[in-house]
């Protein structure tokens, strides 16, 4: 720490990954995250790492599978349509209990959609990034500095719990420039005795695999994985609360949207409305306890997203009927304005603006 750099989100992500010992990167070009690959291609060959532009997103995620199996920190990055292509590999990585970090700089969908910022991959990220019973660690940074800080956490937790971690950013974060500080370069990484690095004819072969043809065996591995998930839910939730202590109206928002909401909350306060913000930093595990506790004391809640309403379902599950939960969202690449959000808060507080 110390020196500050003015950097684009996507480049800061790449530098943060390298500082955290990830020198094997496999990517495929897609807007709005291509600067990650460009940065990696500039730096990695000079420090003995691998930058490889794969033939497809599918190949890239499977290269990550291979590299991670062999004991190195590996990463890939993409944007929404590319992440859909990666979902096969993500499921295999989860089923093989392999760590890795995947970056999704979200853009509007469905289909080819657009290239402007969006948060419409929340369901994909938190519920179903591939077939089968599994979860990913999902981090939702709101500033370029937070992306940098979460990169180390993502790699560390992915290794600790042996599962893929996803950093869910959006086109706004990827493209914006902010001053950032970086951590010292990590030189020592945790041992991976399970990795396929060659037996040296001194141990039994290590096998990385997700196939279990016997139902009871497969059930056991899935149940064991979910026991691990319970530990994660207990210990790894990260959430920011802003002006929530005396709040009567709480807005729940993540990522870049939370920055807009923060301004709106401040404007509401200036008008005498006791508004607050809950900002999930981990989307899985979801900060359900924080939201449930808040639901007991507020008049109502509002969820704001750059989507037609995806996280709002998790908010409603956490609130469990204890207060009303309304939703405001823009989609297709449109970022909600502070004025729009303020208007929604005012509506909750009785209409006056």
């Amino acid at each position: 720490m110390g020196q500050k750099f003015l950097m684009k989100g996507n480049e800061a992500i790449a530098e943060a990954a390298i500082r955290n010992g990830c020198i094997h990167f496999f990517g495929y070009p897609i807007t709005p995250q291509t600067e990650v690959s460009a940065y990696m291609s500039k730096v990695l060959p000079k420090i003995g790492g691998t930058f490889l532009q794969a033939e497809s997103e599918i190949a890239a995620i499977n290269m990550v599978l291979g590299a991670s199996s062999c004991g190195v920190r590996a990463m890939t990055s993409s944007s929404s349509p590319g992440i859909s292509l990666k979902s096969e590999g993500v499921s295999y990585i989860a089923g093989s209990d392999l760590p890795c970090v995947i970056l999704n700089v979200m853009r509007g969908g469905p289909g080819l959609g657009g290239i402007q910022p969006s948060q419409s991959d929340y369901w994909q990220a938190t519920k179903a990034l591939g077939h089968g019973d599994f979860q990913l660690l999902v981090f939702a940074p709101a500033t370029v500095q937070e992306i940098v800080n979460l990169m180390g956490t993502a790699f560390d937790l992915a290794e600790k719990y042996r599962m893929p971690a996803l950093i869910l950013a959006d086109g706004m974060l990827g493209q914006m420039m902010e001053p950032v500080e970086f951590p010292e370069k990590k030189t020592e990484l945790p041992a991976r005795p399970w990795a396929t690095t060659g037996t040296k004819e001194k141990r039994k072969p290590n096998i990385i695999n997700s196939l279990y043809l016997k139902p009871d065996e497969l059930e056991r591995t899935v149940v064991e994985r979910f026991e691990r998930y319970d530990v994660i839910k207990e210990n790894e939730v990260r959430v920011e609360e802003y002006l929530t202590e005396d709040a009567e109206y709480i807005v729940v928002a993540y990522g870049a949207t939370a920055r807009v909401v923060r301004s709106a909350v401040e404007s509401a306060r200036a008008q005498g409305i006791k508004a607050g913000l809950i900002r999930p930093i981990t989307l899985w595990p979801f900060p359900e306890k924080t939201i449930a506790n808040a639901a007991k004391r507020v008049k109502s809640m509002l969820t704001v997203e750059m989507s037609m309403g995806q996280m709002v379902e998790d908010v409603r599950l956490a609130v469990n009927g204890m207060c009303g939960v309304s939703f405001f969202g823009r989609t297709g690449g449109i970022v909600p304005t502070p004025a729009e959000v303020l208007h929604e808060i005012c509506k909750l507080a009785g209409g006056a603006e």
Partner: protein
Amino acid sequence: MASFHKTKGLTDAIFHYCPGCTHGIVHRLVAESMEELGILGKTVGIAPVGCAVMAYDYFNCDMIEAPHGRAPAVATGAKRANPDNIVFTYQGDGDLAAIGTAETVHAATRGENITIIFINNAIYGMTGGQMAPTTLPGQITQTTPYGRDVTRAGYPIRMCEMLSTLDGVAYAERVTVTDVPNVRNAKKAIKKAFQTQIDKKGFSIVEVLSSCPTNWGLEPVEALKWLKENMIPYYPLGCYQDRTEKGVF
């Protein structure tokens, strides 16, 4: 006097392959090659999806089970992580030449220093005998019940010929295991492919024409005869590329 013994390259697990299937022979050749080259302790094998999916239980080295068709991409990641390891994939025709065509072609053209053992038996075995990319014109399978009609299903792919046009390929040879001389040739080719990788010369592939008595609906001996009479004319044996002296870069 030399005695017949089981190679150290195989574990004690019992093969699940059907009687008369040639996977067993090829497994043995790959395992013997690794043992003889002294690379068992530093080899990482990549198993496919298909009949050989459980190859990770049979080869006595570190193993990764890849998604369908993705073995060359997984192998690429493995090799780039630890370039001193020897990395091979073992793939069938559906895996390598249909769903994984892109991964195969691009690993080859990158000159990825890996070895591919390609089992071509002109059919999808594991799923019960459907048309493969290498199914012969007129060949009857579960999904070509009237014989492969090329006007509807297109033509088979000759992978060695196609890959041999790429600059990254150091060694591509097609062999078979229908009889003792051919088994000996196949062993020589597989060993040469591994040696190509050990010498860091580039991408190597050995295509092995194999039989599938179960899904062809033939007795094992008849199946070998069918292979000789039908597959070899369409897929001629031989070396299609050899840049093992100079290497590809």
